[in-house]
């Protein structure tokens, strides 16, 4: 693997919920511009790891640094301001707003204006507003939801909502994107399109950490894969290495076949 500078460094992170160890001693890195997948059976601790990385959970031990900044103690919105943006496994949209308005909310980081400017409708605030609207339209087009732009996001199909979720995350201008099961609920052709989307996101220079159960998709898109089982990393490597790793096969078979 070629040497890249490290975007995210996860150092000996542990998370306990009471007696339950959700993550133990997790360490890995994600390089700038890399696509890394974090996989593992249900309950392995993947979403928990995302929650730690984005400030929704404080780890019981260890720390995460992003582009040199230690994330310990930062609030989620402060981490978002570092350009580290995530999507959610379940709650992905602002359901009562239109897709278009969803994106305007997602563009929060780009739209900061002074309160007085906004209230008085000063030219600076108006120009900013125009830029946001333009950008929102572009993002909608980019994920292919033009026809749904003015429907309430909550009325969209599950797969479409996932796209809105990703567009929302992109609206926040990430330098690194954490995607939690983005293609769950998508059909085969939607998934196929989504893989293209992920590639084009990476081509913009955005680092990606992906959690996904869809193995064929993971194998296609990832530069590197980290496998988690019961909160421990059991394997790490390129898709080819992971595919043939006995511990990985065992972990997946142990949880019932069909996934891998």
């Amino acid at each position: 693997m070629t040497a890249r500078s490290i975007a995210m460094n996860i150092e000996q992170v542990a998370v306990r919920f009471g007696g339950l160890v959700a993550i133990s001693d997790m360490s890995f890195t994600v390089g700038e511009g890399e696509i890394v997948s974090l996989i593992g059976p249900n309950g392995a601790g993947k979403t928990t790891a995302f929650n730690v990385m984005t400030g929704f959970l404080t780890p019981s031990a260890g720390q995460v640094t992003y582009q040199g900044t230690t994330l310990t103690g930062l609030k989620p919105h402060e981490i978002a301001d570092l350009g580290l943006i995530r999507t959610f496994q379940r709650t992905g949209v602002f359901p009562n707003d239109t897709v278009y308005d969803n994106l305007l909310i997602g563009l929060h980081r780009q739209g900061r204006v002074r309160l007085l400017d906004a209230i008085l409708g000063l030219p600076g605030a108006r120009a900013s507003e125009r830029r946001l609207r333009q950008r929102a339209s572009e993002l909608i087009e980019w994920v292919g939801l033009e026809r749904r732009a003015h429907d309430a996001a909550g009325s969209l199909s599950y797969g479409e909502q996932r796209l809105v979720g990703v567009a929302l995350a992109l609206a926040a201008e990430p330098s690194m994107l954490l995607l939690d099961e983005p293609v769950s609920g998508m059909n085969a052709s939607e998934t196929h399109r989504f893989v293209e989307l992920i590639r084009s996101i990476r081509d913009r220079g955005i680092t990606i950490l992906l959690v996904e159960h869809d193995m064929p998709m993971v194998m296609t898109v990832s530069d590197r894969i980290v496998v988690l089982n019961y909160g421990r990393i059991i394997a790490e490597g390129t898709p080819d290495v992971i595919r043939n790793d006995p511990a990985v096969i065992e972990a997946y078979l142990g949880h019932g076949a069909g996934r891998a």
């Binding site: 984005t54 609030k75 989620p76 919105h77 978002a80 301001d81 943006i85 959610f88 709650t91 992905g92 949209v93 602002f94 359901p95 009562n96 707003d97 308005d101 909310i105 997602g106 929060h108 980081r109 739209g111 900061r112 204006v113 309160l115 906004a118 209230i119 008085l120 409708g121 507003e129 946001l132 429907d151 309430a152 909550g154 009325s155 969209l156 199909s157 599950y158 797969g159 909502q161 929302l168 995350a169 609206a171 926040a172 099961e181 293609v183 769950s184 609920g185 998508m186 059909n187 085969a188 998934t191 196929h192 159960h213 869809d214 193995m215 064929p216 998709m217 194998m219 069909g258 996934r259």
Partner: protein
């Protein structure tokens, strides 16, 4: 179209004192207008951030007292033998100070309560209102306690080069309230349609998602609380200088309840909602006075509220808008497809 409707409504409101000569009705309209401003401020919090301020009248009452005391002057002893003496200032200064002080109180209440979400804000605001009421009741040297502050001067508008215009008549006060209400309405409208308003809506709809795109919860909610409290303070000041007497009863819980009813019936989260709800519940006492004792009227208010919400569950304005203006599909999200069924067909 929208602009035309706005101009028409404003013109209609502005014409009222020209044809309505009954001082009793005009008086009811003025006090209703003042409460409409209070309800609009409450709606900014309740309707646009989802935070219920059950002590909202505190900001209104603080505005009333600050404005009254500024324009009346006071001379009170503080601990340590210090005397605090304030010579009367023009009422307009009281009005501005009322906005400032109420806004500051909103800031501190927000700071205290928005680190934790949920019922916390409700409890803090109720307690705050009660504490302020007790202060107003017991700090007799400053507030006259239950004896009330009396002879509060009417607002006088400084007219550069000419002198000043003291607003004594009902007609003048009607226009004063109308102008303040329009400014408050415009300010709230601008705010909720801006970047800040979207942050508020985002937080209300899906807080987790909102913070994940960089929205600062504490800051956004505190900002809403400050502006809301400041507007309530302005309404309180208008009240003090119009009624010209205030006592600690202004802080009564029932006054907050009245504002909440105005907001809920008109439709929280809609700009016009509190105006419509405020007009209905502000003027209902006028309509009921000939037929009902004031105590019995509360039963009627309850009945009217229930009737409104039964027919228009989201409040008058949002429910009507949904029915007649923009019929949304409103279809629920499709159920998630089982994870194992997807992608398996996709070639590796």
């Amino acid at each position: 179209m929208r602009a035309a409707v706005t101009i028409l409504v404003v013109a209609a409101l502005a014409s009222v004192p020209l044809w309505l000569r009954d001082p009793y009705l005009l008086n009811a309209l003025i006090t209703t207008g003042i409460f409409v401003v209070g309800a609009m401020s409450l709606n900014l919090l309740l309707g646009f951030t989802g935070q219920l301020s059950l002590g909202h009248i505190a900001f209104f009452g603080i505005g009333a007292y600050v404005s009254a005391l500024t324009s009346l002057g006071f001379d009170v002893g503080l601990p340590g033998g210090v005397r605090l003496v304030h010579a009367p200032w023009p009422p307009i200064a009281g009005f501005l100070l009322a906005i400032l002080v109420a806004g500051l109180c909103g800031y501190f209440v927000g700071l205290l309560s928005f680190r934790v979400r949920g019922a916390y804000f409700v409890i803090v605001t109720i307690s705050f209102a009660e504490v302020v009421r007790l202060v107003a009741l017991n700090w007799v040297e400053l507030t006259q306690g239950p004896l009330a502050l009396t002879n509060i001067p009417s607002i006088a508008l400084p007219l550069p080069g000419i002198g000043e215009l003291t607003l004594r008549t009902k007609m003048q006060n009607y226009y004063l309230v109308l102008v303040v209400a329009l400014v408050a309405y415009l300010l709230i409208a601008r705010l909720v349609h801006s970047h800040f308003g979207r942050a508020m809506r985002g937080l209300m709809e899906n807080e987790t998602l909102a913070v994940s795109v960089g929205i600062d919860v504490t800051r956004t909610l505190t900002l809403a609380a400050v502006i809301s409290a400041a507007i309530a303070g302005a309404a309180g000041s208008l009240y003090a200088h119009y009624i010209r007497i205030i006592d600690p009863e202004v802080f009564a819980f029932i006054n907050t309840v009245t504002m909440v009813i105005m907001v809920i019936s008109g439709g929280k989260g809609s700009l016009a909602g509190p105006v419509i709800g405020g007009l209905i519940f502000g003027l209902l006492p006028v309509a009921l006075r000939p037929v009902m004792a004031p105590e019995a009227q509360w039963i009627a208010y309850g009945g009217v509220l229930i009737a409104i919400l039964f027919v228009l569950p989201r409040g008058i304005v949002p429910s009507l808008a949904q029915r007649f203006i923009r019929p949304r599909s409103g279809a629920p999200a499709l159920a998630p497809v089982a994870l194992t069924e997807t992608g398996a067909k996709e070639p590796a």
